[in-house]
Symmetry: C2
Subunit: 309 residues, 2 copies
């Protein structure tokens, strides 16, 4: 595979869209060039297990275990434990597959033995034969809370999965001490290019950006982003409704670019979503559900980044 | 179902043999008459989960979820999580089924929220529609350690399952503070009959007997026991080899009776295993693998107990 970008690339990623671009970058870049910093604001405890939905989606996608057309879990997984929990009247709103459970069990056990989330993630990746560094944004909990217009406050997964993302969002809060993990800061420090994946800016990327030192690193490094909005609709998830609720703008690729503001040095949008900007806006197919589309697009994005320098 | 014993019955039980007799007693006795005190010396942590093998076997047997011809787990359970763990190079020597996992997950989560093992077991029973009181012998850990003639010390499940019960046993040690659970002591206090199930005396019954106040309760109450040995062989498990190692006697129904000594007021053995004793020794079919045989035998045992008074 030819090298189309020379240097260290760091991707900031949340769930499905992030995972798909990371998959493409992984296959397009040479060994050692890519590190991924992953949102952990969605992490929560369920059945007594520490669950990291975004880390899992990224790991499973890199390990080629993800279903191509579903955003979570392991392709072909079974749900015998979940059905048993339902039968016994236990909580069953979060879909935990039988094979998927092993990830949460290993993570929870290792954390309780005192390992950091960074170390645990490294071990999980090893077990899944994933050799790209997948870095949790923070080792300490940094829970994302959705403040609704009804005045309730819901942990992110409670809002997204249990309440199906229905309650209108008034604000998004980030808990914890605001410290990035040392490995994440080190990766940013050495980055020649930072990629903001097509993830939800409010609940996937902002939790990373607002950690101490991260925004500054982005100001000092070329940054390219990919729109999570195509033709006014989110490819996946609740973003299209959140943009008007949180910014007063119509959902569009441009509204997301406005959100990132001065941080951007380049932007990729779907054909028809282009706009005037003080940086290159690449119009190309950014719908990257299929594996081959992910790699094709990642190469185009890296060419855009190469042209910035 | 006619009542054949009037009064409160407490069964002391370990694994499979205990569970089978408890099943028979459960079906033979009227509602409210039976409580079961279960060995927790085998409890251990695996995959970060608190596993109570004997409690699980008793609960699953009472819930009619146990395989008739296997001593552990849930009939028809699947092992997708276990295979995934094996694939990732994680510990796979203890057979955890996918449905079975729900039990350990619920127990571990509840214990970490501060519930006692007694409360947790009650909730697990409720989820499994088991309405007989199943009482862990102790709320605090009381791990059984096998001291081998090679000088090693192994946690019980490590010895039994991982090392397949091969290393020769020099001694059995019981850890913890030696306190019985309040519910178990209360049950013993109100018992009109105590049944020592056909469980391993060294690793299933002794852990219970050696708790503070338990032996005294047995001295003050009629006690009937059932031999775990038939014609010199253990129905299940490592007992036949342990008897000579720990007592110097050949494995027999009588050797087990000698172990319990003065505590016994009646004893049931298989035809051909009878011996002279200062208490009635009932010779009858004590092989109770099949469900119907369990109930038939439980009735005979209760008749024997009725005759003692």
């Amino acid at each position: 595979m030819s090298t189309i970008f020379n240097g260290n690339v760091v991707a900031l990623a949340g769930g499905v869209g992030g995972a798909r671009l990371v998959y493409g970058l992984d296959r397009a870049l040479p060994a050692g060039a890519l590190q991924v910093i992953v949102n952990t604001g969605d992490d929560f405890e369920h059945w007594g297990l520490h669950i990291s939905p975004d880390l899992d989606t990224i790991m499973y996608t890199l390990a080629d275990l993800s279903p191509e057309n579903r955003g979570w879990g392991i392709d072909g997984d079974t749900f015998h434990a979940l059905r048993e929990a339902r039968r016994r009247g236990l909580e069953d709103w979060f879909q935990l597959g039988d094979r998927d459970l092993v990830t949460h069990l290993e993570r929870t056990a290792a954390l309780s033995r005192g390992a950091s989330l960074t170390e645990v993630t490294q071990n999980l990746c090893r077990g899944l034969d994933v050799d790209r560094p997948v870095l949790p944004m923070a080792d300490a909990p940094r829970p994302t809370t959705i403040v609704t217009t009804e005045g309730t406050q819901l942990a992110f997964q409670e809002w997204l999965v249990r309440a199906r993302g229905v309650p209108e969002v008034k604000a998004v809060r980030h808990g914890g001490d605001g410290k990035a993990s040392p490995r994440a800061l080190d990766a940013l420090d050495k980055a020649d290019l930072i990629v903001i994946c097509p993830s939800n800016p409010y609940v996937s990327i902002d939790p990373i950006l607002e950690l101490e030192g991260v925004r500054q690193a982005l100001e000092e490094t070329p940054v390219v982003a990919v729109s999570p909005i195509i033709d006014g609709r989110a490819v996946k998830g609740p973003l299209a409704a959140m943009i008007p609720q949180l910014s007063g703008q119509a959902p569009s690729a441009k509204a997301v670019a406005n959100h990132y503001g001065d941080l951007l040095d380049g932007y990729a949008v779907h054909p028809g979503d282009g706009f005037e900007a003080p940086y290159p806006v690449l119009q190309t197919n950014i719908l990257i559900q299929a594996r081959e589309d992910r790699v094709v697009f990642a190469r185009k994005l890296l060419e855009l980044a190469e042209g910035l320098e």
